[in-house]
């Protein structure tokens, strides 16, 4: 379980998050929603251990993540950022192999097991055919998937050293969290669908816990089983999607009057904005 307990954070003197309390079950699929400035991205960074809360704790399986060694945390928590800008050009395989860093000793080179894992994650994201391409030549959607493959490679146990303490990813009892920041912002419709399908499948097959920050209410409604709605750094509502995604909460968070109904074909909630409040 990934928990944020009464977490507060400020950038210099500007408060960004205040008393945020969120629990994500192992194997959960949570969407974090909110308008610009609500603190979504900051929250994600706190969950990833990139920032330290000013007050409160973030715990992973009851261990405070600020006490965890960086590499141990990296084997459990991975981030797919909104955009990835490379300073230099690497091949797709090299980038996915970078996800193996938390499993390697200082001067250790990637071994056959690492390469196998890298190829597995590429296959899982449907990008195995791009292995030898250079990153900059890829389209936005392809880049997104490569970065996801690289993130997934952080989880896979079975590293090249025999005395690993990490169980293979197939072990679904340890919490592995994938944090995604606006995963659909630069994707076209077909890739949006593909990403949602991929996340759902990882969640279903490997019990990968996923936390998705997004603007896209319909994407969240279609993919996530539970939602957290933030406004001005505070949690306005959290819980199962069906309970939380109502016109009342949408109005409270976005200042928008919206219609929420269940779509006949997908059976997911669909949100249509009607007017500004």
């Amino acid at each position: 379980m990934l928990r944020a307990e009464q977490v507060s954070f400020s950038y210099d003197t500007r408060p960004v998050l205040d008393g945020v309390d969120v629990s994500v079950q192992t194997g959960g699929l949570v969407g974090v929603l909110g308008p610009n400035g609500s603190g979504k991205t900051t929250f994600l960074k706190l969950l990833a251990g990139l920032l330290t809360p000013a007050s409160g704790h973030i715990t992973l399986d009851d261990v405070d993540i600020t006490t965890m060694d960086r590499r141990t945390l990296a084997r459990r928590v991975a981030v797919v950022p909104q955009e990835t800008e490379l300073a230099f050009d690497y091949s797709v395989l090299e980038i996915v192999l970078m996800g193996r860093y938390p499993h390697l000793q200082t001067f250790e080179l990637e071994g056959p097991a690492d390469l196998a894992i890298a190829r597995r994650t590429l296959a899982a994201t449907g990008t195995a055919h791009l292995e030898q391409r250079t990153f900059r030549t890829l389209s936005g959607g392809e880049k997104q998937r490569i970065v996801m493959a690289s993130a997934l490679a952080q989880f896979e146990g079975a590293p090249s050293t025999p005395d690993s303490r990490d169980p293979p990813h197939e072990d679904t009892n340890t919490t592995r969290v994938l944090l995604l920041d606006e995963p659909t912002s630069s994707l076209d419709l077909s890739f949006q669908l593909a990403t949602a399908t991929l996340i759902a499948e990882l969640n279903r097959t490997y019990r990968t816990t996923a936390v998705v920050c997004t603007h896209d209410l319909n994407f969240a409604a279609g993919l996530c089983r539970s939602l957290v709605l933030l406004r001005d750094g505070r949690v306005v509502a959290s819980g199962p999607t069906d309970e939380v995604l109502t016109p009342a909460t949408i109005g409270a968070v976005y200042d928008v009057e919206a219609d929420v109904h269940r779509h006949e074909i997908t059976r997911h909630l669909t949100v249509v904005p009607l007017a500004r409040l």
């Binding site: 251990g49 981030v79 950022p81 230099f88 050009d89 090299e94 860093y101 080179l109 056959p112 250079t134």
Partner: protein, 349 residues
């Protein structure tokens, strides 16, 4: 932007053994290149010398002109060229990774301006103690480099949240301007002979005539190289961005600190020995990336080897082409660097 075919495809790893082989090949290959340059350079020059006479121990050293040419005039230059070239190239690679900018050079962050100021102060204002005189210029130059390093580092780490590469860059650029202004002022105070020496120093000169500057430089360079040995993988991950690297387990702040300090130390020592020789810190890393790709585990050792060989060869040209006149080695690297840049621009259009 490079096309996918820019790198020799065979050098991108496709199997686990590949990477091991590539690293070994690169280290041995480029290392051999550097060693060959160091061995070949003292044998070449405007004066023909006889190797047999050089190593003839029956002739007293004080009368053996060939031996003196070999051991005093040429060999120290070869060693200095290798150390300085290797250091500047490595520092270039590290700083380009740190600043996430392929146009960064070892001189971007003000270290060389500090070194130049130190050297010029001594050339112009003199040295108080006779005993320090022979070491004065290199020591003052290294002290200036350390001073610049400290100022830039302090400015970049002032904020609570660690090291800001943007502030690092701005501080370096500002320091370059500031020191250049001070240097102009110091030259204003100098007499014509001192001005001539200052201007000449800035063009770079490896004719050190003794092994002592090399031995002194080995200290800071050694420290820097020990740090370089552990950096390549972290530098690879830094390419993804600070956050992405941190999330994969890199201690970003420590990596940035080590990268900055080691690159600056290596640069400071290199400039103290041979003056601010330009273009190596940018030509060599670029050339190497074209040959071996961007994995720093290949780029760093290759750059050290190629940088060493490149400067040694430039230095041979410097002392041979217009003999008995010495062409400043910095001019030669510039003459090669300028057209190289134009070529880079043209092919990347």
């Amino acid at each position: 932007m490079r096309e996918a075919t820019a790198t020799l495809p065979a050098l991108r790893p496709v199997s686990a053994g590949d990477l091991r082989r590539r690293i070994w090949l690169v280290q041995v290959g480029f290392g051999a290149l550097a060693v060959a340059a160091c061995i070949g350079a003292p044998l070449v020059g405007p004066t023909t010398i006889s190797l047999r006479q050089v190593f003839d121990t029956t002739i007293p050293f004080g009368q053996n002109v060939d031996a003196q040419i070999f051991f005093i005039a040429r060999l120290p230059r070869a060693f200095a060229g290798a150390l300085v070239g290797g250091s500047l190239a490595a520092a270039g690679v590290v700083l380009q990774a740190l600043l996430r900018n392929p146009l960064a050079t070892p001189f971007t962050l003000g270290v060389s301006a500090g070194a130049s100021l130190g050297a010029m102060l001594v050339i112009t204002l003199g040295v108080p103690f006779t005993a320090l005189r022979s070491a004065a210029v290199p020591v003052a130059s290294f002290a200036g480099a350390l001073g610049a390093l400290a100022i830039v580092y302090f400015l970049a780490t002032m904020r609570r949240q660690g090291l800001s590469t943007l502030v690092l860059l701005l501080a370096g650029v500002t320091l370059n301007s500031l020191f250049s202004a001070i240097i102009l002022f110091v030259q204003y105070l100098a007499d014509p002979a001192q001005t001539l020496q200052s201007v000449r120093w800035v063009m770079g000169n490896l004719d050190i005539g003794s092994y002592r500057p090399i031995l002194w430089a080995l200290g800071p360079m050694g420290l820097a190289f020990v740090a370089f040995a552990r950096l390549p993988r972290a530098l690879n991950l830094l390419t993804l961005g600070a956050d992405s690297a941190a999330v994969r387990g890199i201690n970003v702040l420590r990596t940035q600190r080590v990268a900055f300090l080691s690159a600056s130390l290596a640069t400071g020592a290199a400039v103290a020995v041979g003056g601010p020789i330009g273009f190596i810190g940018i030509i060599v890393p670029h050339l190497v990336r074209l040959l071996v790709g961007d994995d720093h585990r290949l780029v760093l050792p290759a750059s050290i080897g190629l940088g060493a060989a490149f400067l040694v060869v430039c230095d041979v040209a410097a002392r041979t082409v217009l003999s008995p006149m010495e062409l400043p080695v910095g001019v030669i690297t510039a003459m090669l660097g300028g057209p190289f840049f134009l070529w880079l621009l043209v092919r990347n259009r």
